[in-house]
């Protein structure tokens, strides 16, 4: 599903540049649930942003579902993001003047799905994250966990090939974190490919594979036995 080869990225700051990714190689199969771990500043977000086509690498290859991702202009990148990817952020990033339902419907709107179908579909996804009753509420009326579940529903609404989550539990207490992870595991159970950036070991243990990043390279990449979040909920 994802294939990257010798990926490099550095940030230029004035005269000196910070080499953040120094040759990353890895691939992800369909249906995997991968945790990207590493200490703060190790380049996890940078990697995820490149995978999410929000940022460009300096060199290296990136193939997503057989499509080489290279030299995209903004319009094309937006199209690919919409078609291939779903995002979940640490700070939820819901649009605050739109209801939960409208937030979930956004990616479908950009896909030019008709209004009626769009709302039906969004409601279905809200139901899946257990928030059907909250459809008309604004984000400010929701708890953190609920917000993140809306964000997950939004990411899934467009039926992406890969779900990318950058510290999805970073702003949540542990109980809510496990609820969110439970949801993510269930989505993964349905066969969706998911990448999660985290620095919390217990969260990483709930994935099926852990990729450890340090000083811009992968120092460890192992398959693990998944801990089910259900038992903590």
């Amino acid at each position: 599903m994802i294939e990257i080869k010798d990926l490099h990225k550095s940030y230029k700051m004035g005269s000196n540049s910070l080499h953040v990714l120094k040759g990353i190689n890895f691939s992800v199969e369909e249906g995997e649930l991968v945790a990207i771990m590493g200490s703060s500043g190790s380049g996890k977000s940078t990697l995820l942003n490149i995978l999410g086509m929000l940022d460009n690498s300096d060199s290296g290859e990136y193939i997503l579902d057989g499509v080489p991702i290279k030299n995209l202009n903004e319009t094309k990148a937006a199209q690919y993001r919409n078609k291939f990817l779903g995002f979940v952020f640490q700070s939820f990033n819901l649009i605050n003047y739109k209801s939960a339902l409208e937030n979930v419907a956004l990616p479908l709107y950009y896909q030019k799905v008709g209004r009626k179908e769009r709302l039906e579909k969004s409601l279905k996804y809200l139901d899946q994250v257990g928030l059907k009753e909250w459809a008309e509420h604004l984000p400010s009326e929701l708890s953190g966990g609920q917000k993140q579940r809306v964000a997950i529903a939004r990411a899934m609404a467009a039926e992406p090939k890969v779900l990318l989550a950058d510290e999805p539990t970073g702003a949540l207490d542990s109980k809510t974190s496990y609820e969110v992870m439970d949801l993510i595991q269930k989505i993964n159970d349905q066969g969706n490919t998911i990448l999660i950036v985290t620095h919390e070991p217990d969260i990483a243990d709930m994935c099926k594979r852990i990729v450890h990043l340090k000083d811009g390279v992968i120092i460890e990449d192992k398959k693990i036995k998944q801990v089910r979040a259900e038992q903590y909920v």
């Binding site: 929000l54 903004e74 937006a78 990033n93 649009i95 956004l106 950009y110």
Partner: protein, 419 residues
């Protein structure tokens, strides 16, 4: 483009801070009001002054004879001469693009002695010998009967069309006019019509106190032979009489053996030139109105642009999210442009309505205090409103352009950065 979701979003954004939106809108509102009011004031002035031209066909010149000021071909200077009826045909033959060439003769005039008698009543009136076309050059409304026609000309019928002023002088209130006779300098003419004229000056009494008779009958009755008093010449709409005037006068000079350099022998009045002078004055006035109006509007537009920029700044993160979710940058640009155009058009419409109400009030005031010199019926035409709307749309586009550009300039990754 005009789907429901877009409109919903535009309204959401604009109504999220009412106070700011209204303040912003006020700049555009004020600018367009000023533009409309200035233009209509100009129009009022124009109406007031153009009224003095009455209905007369403006592409017209009048031409008459004077005495020569240069000797030529053995003829002395100071010689008097007359236009002849054949001259009309010569002018028609030699000068193209003329619509009407009307020879005219005249009796009486201002403060002349009484020249028209009917029974016991008498009065002093201008009496014109004319061709039927004159009604197109100096328009009047036939209120009863008919105007001169070519049968009158050919048969030299002694018939007359009298103005309503004449009728009021010579006839009792309910008396039948058509079919009666009036005596013009001792010659009986049968009244076949009455007319009314929009006046050239003020109340219009003068214009109504005229009598029109066939040119041929006039010449015969008052012994003018084939002399022509003066001519009224109108050019076709496509060409200007001012440009043709030189060749017309030259035709007359050749025909009447006048020195080509003699500037005074043929007198003329070029109505078109006068009219154009007034026209260009109002053209300039209009340009000033547009300039001032657009300047004021411009500050309104800059205000809108400024606010949009602030709004964009506030929405940087939101725009980043939307782009991460896959919204086309073009769609974002379009959204911001539409917000800006919508705001400008709504406030502009309010401005147009306010301007129109203001003009309406001024008109009502003018009506109640009676006519004011040189100012009449200020108004804006539909054309001006359409132009104003176009200006608004363009302004909205301009106001939104820079903010829209800056909205998609920030990369989504930078926009999303939480700190």
């Amino acid at each position: 483009m005009f789907n429901r979701d877009r409109w919903k979003e535009i309204l959401e954004v604009l109504t999220s801070n009412w106070f700011r939106t209204v303040l912003t809108a006020f700049g555009v509102f004020w600018g367009i009001s000023i533009l409309i009011i200035l233009l209509s004031a100009g129009k009022g002035l124009e109406n007031g002054i153009k009224q003095d031209f009455g209905d007369i066909a403006t592409n017209t010149m009048f031409m008459w004879t004077r005495s020569t000021t240069k000797a030529y071909q053995g003829l002395p200077m100071g010689r008097r001469f007359n236009f002849k009826t054949e001259d009309v045909q010569s002018i028609r033959d030699k000068v193209p693009n003329l619509r009407y060439v009307s020879p005219r003769n005249q009796l009486g005039g201002f403060r002349g002695g009484n020249n028209v008698v009917r029974g016991l009543n008498a009065g002093a009136y201008n009496v014109y010998g004319d061709y039927p076309e004159i009604i197109n050059q100096d328009p009047m409304t036939v209120t009863s009967g008919r105007f001169i026609n070519y049968n009158d000309i050919n048969e030299k019928r002694k018939v007359a069309i009298i103005g309503n002023g004449v009728k009021n002088d010579l006839y009792d209130k309910d008396e039948e006019v058509l079919g009666t006779y009036i005596k013009i300098q001792g010659v009986n003419f049968l009244v076949v019509g009455t007319y009314k004229k929009k006046s050239n000056n003020g109340d219009g009494e003068e214009g109504q106190k005229e009598i029109y008779v066939p040119f041929s009958a006039f010449s015969q009755a008052f012994n003018r032979g084939n002399n022509v008093g003066w001519m009224a010449i109108t050019a076709h709409d496509g060409s200007s009489i001012s440009a043709l005037k030189e060749s017309i006068i030259n035709v007359m000079k050749t025909k009447h053996k006048i020195h080509p350099e003699d500037q005074r022998a043929v007198g003329y009045f070029d109505l078109y030139e006068q009219y154009n002078r007034v026209e260009s004055l109002f053209g300039a006035l209009k340009a000033v109105a547009y300039l001032v109006g657009i300047m004021v509007l411009l500050s309104g537009i800059i205000g809108v642009s400024n606010i949009m920029l602030i709004v964009i700044k506030e929405r940087t993160k939101e725009i980043g999210i939307r782009r991460a979710l896959g919204e086309d940058p073009w769609s974002i640009k379009k959204q911001i442009l539409m917000e800006s155009i919508f705001l400008t058009i709504i406030s502009g419409m309010a401005g147009i309505i306010f301007g129109a109400l203001f003009i309406y009030a001024v008109n009502a005031l003018l009506d109640s205090v009676g006519p004011v010199d040189m100012f009449m019926n200020p108004s804006v035409s539909l054309g001006v409103v359409v132009i104003a709307l176009i200006i608004l749309i363009v302004s909205g586009l301009l106001a939104g352009f820079i903010p829209a550009q800056s909205a998609i300039k920030v990369r989504p990754i930078d926009a999303l950065r939480t700190d």
